[in-house]
Symmetry: C2
Subunit: 152 residues, 2 copies
């Protein structure tokens, strides 16, 4: 639990970097046996690629480092509930645990826009945890969108 908090703080640091780069502030970290394998943030606008969410960036880095697509012994920390694409990517990669900070009532594909537990025939069921650092994550997102609206 204390460790979960530590890794989520790293994910939040990544989210703040995204904010500075004028990207929706979401960060993610992949951890394996206590080692941070990958840390990155949302890069959708910079890369002009709607797949470059924080979770996808760290999956790409982790599989490159490990030389295998199997992430069975890896845990993912992310500051916002993953979307449909990212949840699917994490399941396809057999990630062990998904720990997210804040829920995403619109796009979240674990507990919000759909209940992942109700999807049939999933060939892998990651352990799910939520809520760690959720206020910090929500505040960052709120500040970002408020500033965006102001600058319009």
């Amino acid at each position: 639990m204390e460790q979960d908090h530590y890794y989520m703080e790293l994910a939040l640091e990544e989210a703040r970097l995204a904010y500075q780069e004028d990207e929706v502030p979401i960060g993610a970290v992949i951890v394996r046996n206590g080692e941070v394998l990958a840390r990155d943030h949302n890069r959708k606008e910079r890369d002009q690629n709607a797949m470059h969410h924080a979770e996808v960036m760290v999956i790409q880095e982790a599989v490159r480092k490990l030389g295998t697509w199997h992430l069975e012994d890896c845990d993912l920390y992310v500051t916002l509930e993953p979307c449909l694409m990212c949840t699917g990517a994490l399941i396809n990669s057999r990630i062990r645990r998904i720990i997210f900070a804040a829920r995403d009532p619109k796009g979240g594909a674990i507990l919000s826009s759909l209940l992942l537990s109700e999807v049939r025939n999933l060939n892998h069921h990651p352990e799910i945890a939520e809520g760690i650092c959720k206020d910090e994550s929500s505040r960052l997102l709120k500040d970002y969108f408020k500033e965006k609206r102001k600058n319009k």
Copy 2:
């Protein structure tokens, strides 16, 4: 409709290339204004990357070519119903139409393992079509898995 058949045949050609490379035989094509922007196939094992499904490969190529993440005027042809990850990636990329050949009763995230129409708050709703060349696609997949079992 005749055009849909033509593009699905290209996707099937890609699926056959995947078969030859000992990958689950699935192929995809992205078309924009009658031009084939991208064609590719499943490369999961070769790349040791569980995200390298056919659909993801062609999205990556299409956004690279166009220089934008917006695929609003693009259609995707794929030989098997997309999974959770790919369906999410296509929605995130705002693809206009998804045309798939065969249903995937296990992993398909449009009509099979979940009903995409029941997912709440999706910010984009691609047009969906299915069934074109479905027998050819199913046969290819069946042959592949039969051969796999035999060689075990």
